[in-house]
């Protein structure tokens, strides 16, 4: 099959992937060239490496292990508020880290709700605090990733299974295990990779020699010591780790679709036994409480400060929205063509997306800083750099959402499109984009909110004049203006969620999800 005809051209996707590769590999090269390898790693650096891996393994295992029963419960139950709950599951992943950490502190912190309930202060700082925060962020992401797998099983398959008299056990072996075999390894790899590059959680809940991630160590070398050589060396280690994780992710995530359905709404007839209903209800209830309590805490503590927000917060909010929208536009221009190209057989382009996982924001930030430094003042580029880096960081997630659907669309309708001479733009416009709309909306929502709440590369490029909202909140916290910080957090929460909701909802408009 040397050059089989395809309904879409792979060229735009290849171009987009090249842009990403040049950006990331360029910054990596800058980092590697600057690293002072001869100096070697100190004991503190080794400790950071060890801590990074251990917390990422724990976080990934716990998040995905809990996500499977929650996703299964959500897949086979229909209840009031289900749609809202699924939207809410998107929340922690796109919740600005700084806001979530404030919320987790309110619930699990030393003077938080749990401590008050137990009558003894709970210690949250350190490994378990970092893992707790990571599970809080990634359990819902894993649930959504796996739930998407469930929802990609066409309604017709469940109908057929129900018709065949299949009970929960048969449905598991017929439909669910094959789906999980495709979805779980990918989810594990994604969560592990996210947690490898954890920065803001470690900054706020970790710290100290025993709970410092590599990312945090890079930041400290950069901001406190302005030791670019050490920052670059640490970056190289981070790259090695994350490239390894990315390669694993690439290996474990492929498989066939479930074939064509006719877009009938999914109905389920299985799992009506009392035990399963209690189990499902319990999983949904516990997961909801775990996710909702910190959010309630943020709202309660944020409302008083909201009325008296300083002007600097509003300015920062405006900058953040503009950065987020720019970042979303950049992301879609990269991700949709790449997904289409992968769908028509350019598998290796998935590497371009995974480069985003392999290179953490602080590593790319360090690299870009090193590249811009000799030519111009890097601090002047804080906002554009943030928008671009955020888009590249969102790319792996966007591709994970877009690629399976793009493959499915090409598999189902590629031949028909080619027979009708629709190859190229007509196929993109009338088939690919409309049938990928829900996934594109979801990806855009993630990108916008991730960028909105990002506290990573902006912290490196921080300049006293310009700040995004998360950075401004961090500064307010540093200055012990807690009321203003809490009010700003609530504003940030509302803005991030609104952006996500508008895009995600827009994509699912008039479509069964």
């Amino acid at each position: 099959m040397a050059h089989r005809a395809q309904p879409v051209s792979a060229k735009p996707g290849i171009g987009a992937a090249l842009c990403v590769a040049v950006l990331i590999l360029g910054s990596l090269l800058a980092v590697v060239l600057r690293a002072e390898a001869g100096r070697g790693l100190g004991p503190a650096d080794w400790q950071a490496v060890q801590f990074t891996v251990v917390q990422a393994l724990l976080s990934a295992g716990l998040s995905v292990g809990l996500a499977v029963p929650v996703a299964r419960a959500l897949a086979r139950r229909r209840f009031r508020g289900r749609r809202m709950l699924i939207t809410l599951l998107g929340a922690p992943f796109i919740l600005p880290v700084i806001v979530a950490v404030l919320g987790l502190l309110e619930v699990f912190g030393r003077s938080g709700w749990i401590s008050q309930l137990l009558g003894a202060p709970v210690q949250i700082y350190g490994l378990h605090g970092v893992v707790l925060a990571h599970v809080f962020f990634n359990l819902p992401l894993a649930t959504r990733l796996i739930l998407q797998g469930w929802q990609e099983i066409p309604a017709e398959r469940f109908r057929l299974a129900a018709q065949l008299g299949a009970g929960p056990r048969e449905i598991r072996t017929l439909l669910e295990y094959p789906m999980l075999r495709r979805a779980v390894p990918g989810a594990l790899a994604v969560v592990f990779a996210i947690c490898l590059t954890s920065f803001a959680v470690a900054l706020t809940l970790g710290g100290g020699p025993r709970a410092t991630t590599i990312e945090l160590a890079i930041y400290q070398a950069f901001r406190f010591d302005f030791d670019l050589g050490r920052a670059a060396l640490l970056s190289c280690i981070q790259i090695g780790l994350t490239v390894g994780a990315a390669l694993v992710a690439l290996r474990v995530s492929s498989g066939d679709g479930f074939g064509a359905g006719l877009d009938r709404p999914v109905q389920r007839w299985d799992g009506q036994g009392l035990g399963l209903r209690v189990l499902d209800g319990g999983m949904i209830g516990l997961a909801t409480a775990f996710l909702v309590l910190p959010l309630i805490a943020i709202v309660l503590s944020g409302v008083p400060g909201l009325a008296r927000l300083p002007g600097s917060v509003w300015n920062a909010a405006l900058w953040s929205v503009m950065v987020a929208l720019a970042s979303t536009a950049i992301l879609l221009l990269l991700a949709v063509p790449i997904a289409a190209a992968i769908a028509v057989g350019r598998q290796r382009l998935e590497l371009a997306g995974l480069l985003g996982l392999a290179a953490s924001p602080l590593v790319i930030g360090t690299g870009l800083f090193l590249m811009i430094h000799p030519i111009a003042d890097p601090f002047a580029f804080a906002l554009p750099v943030t928008a671009v880096v955020n888009a590249v960081m969102a790319l792996p997630f966007a591709l994970r959402i877009l690629v399976p659907r793009a493959r499915q669309v090409v598999a189902e309708f590629g031949r028909l499109g080619m027979m009708l001479d629709m190859s190229g733009w007509p196929f993109v416009r009338f088939v690919l984009l409309p049938r990928m709309r829900a996934q594109i909306g979801f990806a855009a929502g993630l990108a916008a909110a991730l960028s909105m709440g990002d506290l990573g590369v902006i912290a490196l490029f921080a300049d006293p004049e310009v700040a995004t909202l998360p950075l401004q909140i961090y500064r307010l916290m540093g200055a012990y203006r807690m009321e203003a910080a809490a009010g700003g957090s609530l504003l940030l929460l509302v803005l991030s969620m609104s952006l996500f909701w508008i895009f995600d909802r827009g994509g699912r408009w008039h479509a069964e999800t």
Binding site: D263, R415, L420, F430
Partner: protein, 230 residues
């Protein structure tokens, strides 16, 4: 006239050879055991299978290198013949212009085609709202407006009941009488062939045999066909 000239089609490790002509306007059934390569043969003519050697000629012109959409072919697959998110009228309209920029006349042609297949007034519906038979009719409306001289059917009506399938075959027969197009139709069922096919191509043993007159063949089947018919 369709001419397969020393054609060898590759589908993975499987090879199917064919070397024959089909007269213009002829209606031909392609029959043979499951897995013998009936769909492979049709797919190669439509441009979805790799041609290893030999040529496919239409009216003397080699088409085996053309893109599927550039060939003089309208094809219906076993399933997935309609885009579920587009209306019936849009699905049919794609047969005229793949970018759906239809002139008023072309819109009228779509409406006329829908009328012709018995879907008057249903142009605004989505495929999921139609019955199986109506979906087949919608796909046939598109074949009609595509106005290609060669129509390939890869068992698109296999999921329909006998009466409905017969109805669809009669509709195909009537439409082709009007357009004069040539038909190649994959079928499991010899009675389909008897119903509308002038000739039959038997596919078995890695070979697509030259077409033979339908009734003569089915009434006096050679051993290979006899084994298949039982």
């Amino acid at each position: 006239m369709l001419k397969l000239d020393s054609l060898v089609i590759a589908n993975g490790d499987f090879r199917l050879s064919a070397d024959f002509e089909v007269p213009l306007g002829c209606k031909v059934a392609v029959i043979g055991p499951s897995g013998a390569g009936k769909s492979t043969l049709i797919g190669a003519i439509a441009g979805f299978q790799t041609v290893e050697s030999g040529r496919i000629l239409w009216g003397g012109r080699a088409i085996e290198q053309d893109q599927p959409g550039q060939r003089p072919v309208a094809m219906l697959f076993q399933d997935g013949n309609l885009f579920p998110h587009l209306t019936i009228a849009q699905n049919a309209g794609l047969g005229i212009r793949p970018d759906l920029k239809l002139t008023a006349d072309q819109d009228m042609a779509v409406l006329a085609a829908l009328d012709r297949v018995g879907l008057s007034g249903m142009g605004g519906r989505k495929p999921g709202e139609l019955s199986g038979g109506q979906q087949s009719r919608a796909a046939l409306a598109r074949v009609l407006v595509q106005d290609k001289p060669l129509v390939l059917l890869d068992e698109p009506f296999a999921a329909l009941g006998p009466a409905l399938k017969g109805e669809m075959l009669d509709l195909v027969d009537a439409l082709l009488r009007e357009t004069g197009a040539t038909l190649l139709m994959v079928s499991h069922d010899p009675s389909d062939a008897r119903r509308i096919a002038d000739q039959v191509i038997l596919v078995e043993g890695g070979r697509a045999h030259a077409p033979v007159e339908t009734h003569g063949l089915l009434d006096n089947p050679p051993p290979a066909l006899k084994a298949y018919l039982g």
